[in-house]
Symmetry: C2
DNA sequence: GTGAAAGCGCTAACAT
DNA sequence: ATGTTAGCGCTTTCAC
């Protein structure tokens, strides 16, 4: 393993010069530059990142905290981040926050202590205040799934309200009149859930349907079978269901099958997220797509921008309009 | 951000002593130790990993190269690795090799250059020789999906032959007599494919059925619809299909549905891997399960062992016997 | 049991 | 345009 010292000696220059050609900042005579470059190549020199990091007090590593790494939805986001990061010669550390505040805090602290270049939070559960604190720690951060424009934290969000609106108005346009809404468990940090609910409400209103409280269900994914059964047992049951997450819609498909309820014959169904699995269920699931890979890519792009140009003033939140992917489950 | 210098001064000892209590190797008088510890706690001191790495020429980071990070199969393995790594205070860098030799090489070189503590290769595509070279580079490595016991490289493999044998003999025991085998594209490094094929052959033989060449299909997942149609068009078509990967079985389910072929009524189907999606397809997919999380966990455990005890002589390859998960698609 | 000091490889301020 | 040098925070000999 050679060092700049070796390169310097062999090229007949000082280590400062080698450092200069390596970092491309100060100008070096073209001739010396070529000489140094050829020696670097010959020796197969690679810079020692630890030394560089120690000296600069900053690494070339960025971190990302996701809610669940084994979920392909986040896997695709990570992939988008990683490919973009590699383009910029940055390395990525992936942390599995598991939607757990303490874990998330632990990872964030760890990354921060390790002089990370910046970090990306995918649907963080930290309260706003802590995120602001992170930002004030001088390390750039980027959020996905939380708009903190007023604190000048760059972020990307999907227009959940619009997505839900598209989904529900599509159902209504096709003739469904009694659309239920099933959402996962409530949690302070799940803004997508709230926004999707708003879109649902607005679409119903705009279509001239009333919002019936008995059609509104909030329950964790594990209890979906009992919850769905209850929903279908109310007097005058719904003729369609909009699920705030595909995950829930999967549960509905399973339960409906067990109960002998036909989708879309007896009941229409639309989800949100477009998990890969939606193409393989029976019926295939109509859903609102979040462009995961692109989201990851954009998050990274924004972060790199913040790292390289640490001033404020960029277009802070990027709102992505989602598309409705029409498949079989809505019958339209 | 405090350094050991600050701690030393405040505790009234030398930096060497602080380093000693931090590293727990040399013995320190209990009293001084307590004093130092309390100052560390008070100042909220965290060690600078870059400096440590520079000095020791080795980081506390391990790397893993997977074929596809957005695939939940690998996501679960990564999760297993990460959780175990965190237990040992190691951090994890995930690289998306994409089954591409050049990418894999690039990542391996990068990680190696970065004085990584060790690395894990999940179904690597590198040839044996390069893997041996990696090992000889003094950094411990662990493989999943490749047995290189003879080169003393620790590894974990799933008993693919046994898994395939279980799957096929299950089909035969239920009365299927004409079992086809669909595998993905051939590739030198896909040992699982070959072993699963062997298990298929052996099971057929043991059940007294002959192996018919027209029942053997090798094709990439994208072409599964044409390929499956051809398979069903041979004179005396198969009554069951064993797919070397769930991915292929998913394609079969889709195609069969389009063709109006009923599974398992017209044809039995078994896959291999137990992707999460298998529970949601219709019919649900009978398959051979690979315990992904545990595999990841064990890979990491083995790596840590190699890092801490760099001698040879451990039980080098761990062979995991897989279980057959019986669902609807085989009709048994 | 503890301290002093060298030095890991690099960057950047300063000097020439 | 290039060289000299200090020092980032840590581990690890070598003294005592």
């Amino acid at each position: 393993m050679y060092t700049i010292k070796d390169v310097a000696k062999k090229a007949g220059v000082s280590i400062a010069t080698v450092s200069r050609v390596l970092n491309k900042k100060d100008r070096v005579k073209e001739e010396t530059r070529q000489k140094v470059l050829s020696v670097i190549n010959e020796l197969n020199y690679v810079t020692n990142f630890s030394a560089k990091a120690l000296r600069r007090n900053c690494t070339d590593v960025i971190g990302v905290i996701v809610p669940e790494i084994s979920n392909s939805f986040y896997g695709e986001i990570i992939k988008g981040i990683e490919n973009k990061a590699n383009e910029y010669d940055l390395r990525l550390i992936v942390c599995n926050g598991e939607g757990n505040l303490d874990k998330e805090r632990g990872f964030a602290k760890f990354l921060y202590d390790q002089s990370i270049a910046g970090m990306i939070f995918i649907i963080p559960c930290m309260p706003d205040s802590e995120l602001v604190e992170m930002k004030n720690n001088q390390k750039p951060i980027v959020l996905f799934g939380r708009n903190m424009q007023k604190y000048n934290i760059p972020s990307i969000t999907v227009d959940n309200k619009l997505g839900a609106y598209k989904a529900v108005s599509h159902l209504c346009a096709y003739g469904y009149k009694k659309v239920a809404f099933i959402s996962g468990e409530e949690a302070e940090h799940l803004y997508d859930r709230k926004e999707r609910f708003e879109g649902y409400i607005e679409a119903l209103r705009d279509c001239g349907h009333e919002v019936k409280p008995e059609y509104l269900v909030t329950a964790p994914a594990e209890t979906i079978n009992t919850v769905f059964a209850q929903l279908m047992a109310v007097t005058n049951p719904p003729d369609a269901v909009f699920c705030a997450y595909d995950e829930l819609a999967l549960g509905v498909i399973k339960t409906a099958q067990q109960m002998g309820i036909n989708i879309p014959g007896d009941i229409g169904l639309v989800g949100f997220d477009d998990l890969r699995i939606c193409q393989y269920t029976s019926p295939t699931l109509t859903t609102v797509k979040q462009p995961t890979y692109i989201i990851g890519s954009l998050c990274c792009e924004k972060l790199v921008y913040s790292i390289r140009q640490p001033q404020e003033g960029q277009n802070v939140n990027l709102l992505i309009p989602p598309d409705l992917i029409i498949r079989q489950s809505c019958g339209c």
